[in-house]
Symmetry: C2
Subunit: 145 residues, 2 copies
Amino acid sequence: MRHEPDPAAFDLTNELRLVVFRLARRMRAERVLDELSDSQFAVITFLHLYGPHTLGAIAMRERVSAPAMTRTVNRLERSGLVERLPDPDDGRHVLVRLAEGGRRVVTATEEKRNAWLDSQLTGLGEQDREALARAIALMREIVSR
Amino acid sequence: MRHEPDPAAFDLTNELRLVVFRLARRMRAERVLDELSDSQFAVITFLHLYGPHTLGAIAMRERVSAPAMTRTVNRLERSGLVERLPDPDDGRHVLVRLAEGGRRVVTATEEKRNAWLDSQLTGLGEQDREALARAIALMREIVSR
DNA sequence: TATTGTTATACTCTATAACTATA
DNA sequence: TATAGTTATAGAGTATAACAATA
């Protein structure tokens, strides 16, 4: 712990927290399918990033109960966005895999959000881009610890 | 639209999107009260930032229906986190104001999140801090457009 | 008449407990 | 016996429609 608090350092922390929440909120508003709940979208995004996982692993990652994840996966399966597969190594496991429809929703949403964000970043000078790249690297390090 | 896509610019956009979502998710995990739902916490955070608002204004800001906000405010009121006040200017309005208990929850959560984030930022060099400050300014500009 | 908020009703998401199938 | 997932049940969040109070 720091014994002499540094007001400038605190401001940096506090403002980073605020702006990250606000930007995340703004980007989340860029949607492709309004019918898809946040929980459902979080699952297909996770599967798109990290590949097929067992139902329990997804539930743990999303910090919801197994029954809640069972229902979320049921909805996604009925909508054709994910598939259930048997695990050849352990008959108790259910592997959940992104289906073609799910992949399309995730990529279309990513494209829409990137397009919005990109439009906000146009016209940035080289120094701004470098600062942003450095800040992104710092934030990546923080979240991957 | 850009006719010759710039791969480096795209990477910057894409990685900013990803890291902002991840950092927001990680910070959101730093909680004070597990019993408080996301909707409830969003309301008291909004009231803390922007002061008392009518029920309808909060519902619009949070993009939920008025009946949904009525119920959320009911819970918060029963928990002693907010208060309903009459609007002297318009008898149809209900002003919702953060109560002392709500203020404590918001500030304790902010402090916990800032403490976590600050601990992740310790040891940063001057150049990193400058890059971060510049990136924060850029992101603030984006969200306030 | 139009607006603000609440109540009525129905559906979704969530959790805990009980159950089934597999290890 | 222990573990992974599903089903049963109940509580909370959400929406639309109908209503009461106020402008």
